[in-house]
């Protein structure tokens, strides 16, 4: 027998938890299948669990730590009766109602589903990555920066997360090289200014990492110049990857409409997907803004869309 809820929320970043707060306050007793622990951003709480200070979330003039913010959102949802399961959904069936989702053998059903599975960090795709992850190669600066005290390391990427990581890592490392594919940074102006002003950060433009050296730990990287194709060596003992994200939508392939890049498609100005009663919010359907506050905003939209849709059933 399936365990039935009016609203099922899959994913628990700012979008999912905001949807949970709203639907819980509306008395819909949502079930949140929040994901399971991981060292990537595909985990309960989402991408903010791997960040440090969040300075741009309204209401926190002194800033707030990302994990702390997410813990508070979760408590707020729980306070109004949201239920949580710390597992990953393994399969869904949205072809008939009630909609169904499984965690391995356990079946859940719901009148309405809110998808907020977010996005996770991309890796470089080099064959040596699986071997070296945890041995000098990392996707989590806040977890691993500590182990590189006094060492020379590199961060790959030119966006806000790459710059935030580089900045954070200068607390430990003697020098942080920022490896940027183009001749410009994607990051916001304030982050760029901070990075450029930091003496410990040096930027290597127009370059990609083509090889990571080292048998049992990172012992340097080979760089390829994107303009000339010339290769060079960089002697670093640590490499942090922050080159962007891909949406966590493998679960919904062939079920929900998505772009070639995997982002879910929602009807403009709403959170409606191609399936009536299934809504999507947060980074899983947004490759433009990708902020905690926009995710939270769309989580609220999904909750209201779902609430109103449920009222018109029967």
């Amino acid at each position: 027998m399936a365990i039935h809820h009016k609203v099922l929320i899959i994913g628990s970043g700012p979008a999912g938890l905001t949807a949970a707060i709203y639907t819980a306050r509306a008395g819909l007793l949502p079930l949140v299948i929040e994901g399971e622990p991981s060292s990537t951003s595909d985990q309960p709480g989402g991408q903010l669990m791997l960040t440090t200070e969040v300075e741009n979330f309204p209401g926190f003039p002194e800033g707030i730590m990302g994990p702390e913010l997410m813990t508070r959102c979760r408590e707020q949802a729980a306070r109004f009766g949201a239920e949580f399961i710390t597992e990953k959904v393994t399969r869904v069936d949205f072809s008939s109602r009630p909609f169904r989702a499984w965690v391995r053998e356990t079946e859940y059903s719901a009148d309405s589903v809110i998808v907020s599975t977010g996005a996770q960090s991309l890796m470089l795709g080099l064959p040596e990555e699986p071997r070296l992850i945890g041995h000098g190669l990392s996707t989590c600066a806040t977890c691993d920066g500590f182990f590189f005290r006094g060492q020379e390391i590199a961060v790959v990427g030119g966006g806000d997360s790459a710059l935030e990581e580089a900045q954070f890592l200068t607390r430990f490392a003697s020098k942080v090289h920022l490896i940027v594919r183009r001749d410009a940074l994607r990051a916001s102006k304030i982050m760029q200014e901070r990075a450029l002003a930091n003496e410990k950060i040096s930027i290597i433009w127009n370059s990609t990492v083509s090889k990571i050296h080292g048998d049992d730990k990172v012992a340097g990287v080979e760089l390829t110049n994107t303009q000339t194709g010339a290769t060079s060596e960089l002697g670093v003992t640590g490499l942090f990857i922050a080159i962007g994200h891909r949406p966590n939508t493998d679960l919904f392939k062939g079920v929900l409409d998505m772009e070639d890049s995997g982002y879910l498609i929602t009807k403009p100005g709403s959170t409606y997907t191609n399936i009536d009663g299934v809504f999507a919010c947060g980074d899983v359907q947004d490759h433009t803004y990708r902020q905690a506050i926009t995710a939270a905003g769309s989580g609220c939209m999904a909750a209201l869309d779902s609430e109103r849709w449920l009222e018109h059933q029967h």
Partner: protein, 112 residues
């Protein structure tokens, strides 16, 4: 009764690992590591459910960096299973309970 998690320090590390009758899983962690916090409840559950089969212990890398270095820990959480005093398995990164139990299956009796 919940079995408590053993706290390791430089003073008791070798002794505890060397004298353990069961395999012992050491969680290398730190206060500032989000994924470490995320797996703490998972480890607590396993400590209780598998009491007598496997010992769960934790080592704070902030306080005992020398031990972390000895085992080349460069990323946390790192989980190292010691069996009869030897490193038997090493897992880097946080995982869910199901996945962790799969990884630990070889150290646990076949109980379903």
């Amino acid at each position: 009764m919940a079995q408590s998690i053993t706290t390791l320090t430089s003073a008791n590390f070798d002794e505890t690992i060397g004298s353990s009758d069961t395999p012992i899983l050491v969680d290398f962690w730190a206060e500032w590591c989000g994924p470490c916090k995320a797996i703490a409840p998972v480890l607590a559950e396993i400590a209780t459910e598998q009491a007598g089969n496997i010992t769960i212990a934790k080592l704070n890398v902030d306080d005992f960096g020398d031990i972390a270095m000895r085992f080349n820990v460069m990323s946390i959480p790192t989980l190292i299973v010691f069996n009869k005093g030897e490193v038997a398995k090493r897992l880097v990164g946080a995982v869910g309970k199901g996945k962790l139990l799969q990884e630990l299956a070889e150290f646990l009796p076949n109980s379903h």
